[in-house]
């Protein structure tokens, strides 16, 4: 028997809440909460993908929002060109994200530390400006997606509840994959490299190869979030790739707990709910949000999951 743990209990509670949320929304007729949580789940998926390289792999990517844009533009641009099938849009979104990650990763992983942060940021900003320059696809103003991805009767993304469950399934699927990966041979190598690269080289691992593959897996997962996000907002614009969005994702990961499986979900839920409710109270919500996050990061080592873990040990 495993001992009762607070973090496990809270995680289970949160997951149950996410599964039952559409029921609540249906019973109370509160549609707003369903749309809000659809967005939260999609960004949680993006945060979870960032956590794979940042939390487990020790690679501080400050350009992760680029994949949200790439996944989103893949859907938007194909829709614009008359390709409405999700069976084409989604694989293209994933492939485009993977390709971008491969190129960016191969270049960025030559550097370490602050330089890695700066170079990933620079590439994401480049992607932002490229998207701004796409006159055919709305340029600065962005691109409206008039019709959501069509999965020919299998699932209807236009239906709020179906779309919500699709996003949730994607999130849980990705968390499951990450769980398998971090405990696999590959995952141990990647985490070993985070811990001590020199040692890993000395026992015979070619560091960069493993880190690059991890970087590509993470980028592909985030591309999925991008494709979902474009469907959720029926719109994609360069703004989703802006560096502040990458920063938001990092904050979600750190807030929830780096290198924990469910931390990014926790972080996304808390971050986005705070943002939502504070912005209803005052337009200067960032003034409250900023110090609040600072306090959590300064005093809550290991984020929310870390705090819950300590609470569990008493």
């Amino acid at each position: 028997m495993k001992a009762f743990s607070v973090s496990k209990a809270v995680t289970a509670l949160m997951l149950a809440g996410l599964v039952l949320l559409p029921l609540y929304s249906h019973l109370t007729g509160n549609i707003f909460i369903l749309t809000l949580f659809t967005r939260i789940i999609i960004l949680a998926l993006a945060a979870a993908s960032l956590n794979l390289i940042m939390g487990f792999g020790g690679m501080m990517s400050f350009g992760h929002a680029a994949y949200l844009g790439i996944g989103g533009y893949a859907v938007g641009m194909l829709a614009q060109e008359g390709v409405g099938s999700g069976f084409i849009q989604f694989p293209v979104a994933l492939a485009a994200s993977a390709t971008y990650a491969l190129v960016i990763g191969a270049l960025s992983l030559r550097t370490r530390g602050v330089y890695f942060i700066m170079i990933t940021l620079a590439f994401a900003q480049m992607a932002y400006y490229v998207a701004s320059g796409l006159a055919r696809y709305g340029g600065d103003d962005g691109l409206t997606v008039y019709k959501r991805s069509d999965f020919s009767g299998l699932i209807n993304l236009g239906d709020r509840m179906q779309f919500y469950y699709l996003c949730l399934a994607c999130l849980l699927g990705v968390i499951f994959l990450i769980w398998r990966i971090v405990n696999s041979r590959f995952g141990l190598v990647v985490q070993g490299l985070r811990s001590n690269e020199q040692r890993m080289q000395a026992i015979g691992f070619a560091a960069k190869r493993y880190q690059l593959v991890c970087f590509v897996i993470s980028g592909t997962m985030c591309g999925l979030a991008g494709a979902l996000l474009a469907n959720n907002t029926d719109f994609v614009s360069p703004a989703v790739m802006y560096w502040t969005r990458s920063g938001d994702l990092m904050v979600m990961v750190i807030l929830g707990g780096m290198g924990t499986l469910f931390g990014p979900i926790m972080g996304a839920v808390v971050f986005l709910l705070l943002e939502e409710f504070l912005s209803q109270i005052t337009e200067y919500w960032a003034l409250i949000m900023g110090p609040l996050l600072l306090l959590i990061v300064l005093f809550g080592r290991g984020g929310i999951m870390g705090a819950l873990g300590r609470a569990g040990r008493g």
Binding site: S184, R185, S195, R199, Q201, I203
Partner: protein
């Protein structure tokens, strides 16, 4: 004569104006324990780093079992049977002792591009890890996170990690560094066991240990090998006495 396991020829490495490795040549025969001694700043760690591939020489060559490895990266040398321990303990601090060793075994047991199966449940890797831990007397600490191990235990774990890759040649960079008297004695005993199975290059300050263990000793001073021979010959060597040992009571009182 048979090809030596390790052959170093005319190795030169400079740092700015300082020649840290000055035309070093040495050979390590298979089965031999070859010690490299020298005062602080003699260039021992620089030499070791060139053998392991963490530093490139400016000229000269290093070959392992007849194969030129002068410019191979560290991880490739490891695959060819070269393992090392670090002077300053270098381990995965947030992993358990068993994980540290199992990863070394994993590096030499098929591809690590496996993404799904739980590597901690691979019996072959765990068995190899436990065997290596048992070898250095750390089996009872297998599931302890490294950051909670004592310094002495970490030194032993370094050795277990090196052993797990089943090396032909073990490069030990000051394995006794920072050990207490009893811990040092245990380490000497352990090395006496290990030398029966694997060739060893030992860089060490602990003179009694070196003279008790080594088949041959090379003395490094200012980056140059000033003498090379068996312990008796080194003890008699006038150059060594003058250049390095000075008041050499540490050597003469032993043995």
């Amino acid at each position: 004569m048979a090809e030596p396991l390790l052959r170093v020829e005319k190795l030169v490495r400079r740092f700015g104006g300082i020649i840290a490795t000055d035309n070093v040549s040495l050979e390590v025969a298979s089965g031999e324990l070859h010690a490299i001694i020298g005062p602080n700043g003699a260039g021992k760690t620089t030499l070791i780093s060139q053998l392991t591939g963490h530093l490139e020489p400016h000229s000269g060559s290093v070959s392992l079992a007849g194969r030129d490895i002068t410019y191979l990266p560290a991880y490739r040398r490891c695959a060819l049977g070269l393992a090392r321990s670090f002077q300053i303990t270098s381990l995965l601090l947030d992993f358990t002792a068993a994980d540290n060793v199992a990863l070394a075994a994993q590096a030499h047991a098929g591809t690590s591009f496996r993404f799904f199966a739980n590597a901690r449940k691979e019996k072959g890797l765990r068995d190899a890890a436990h065997a290596a831990l048992d070898r250095v007397g750390l089996l009872h600490r297998a599931d302890v996170v490294v950051s909670r191990l004592s310094h002495g235990e970490r030194r032993e774990l370094e050795l277990a990690v090196a052993l797990a890759s089943k090396p032909k040649l073990l490069l030990l960079d000051e394995p006794m560094a920072g050990l207490g008297v009893t811990e040092s004695q245990r380490m000497v005993k352990l090395l006496q066991e290990l030398r029966k199975e694997v060739s060893i290059v030992l860089v060490e300050h602990d003179m009694p240990a070196v003279f008790a263990l080594a088949d041959r000793i090379s003395v490094l001073v200012y980056g140059r090998v000033i003498a090379s021979g068996d312990p008796a010959a080194i003890r008699q060597n006038e150059d060594v006495k003058r250049a390095y040992l000075g008041d050499q009571h540490v050597v003469t009182h032993h043995g």
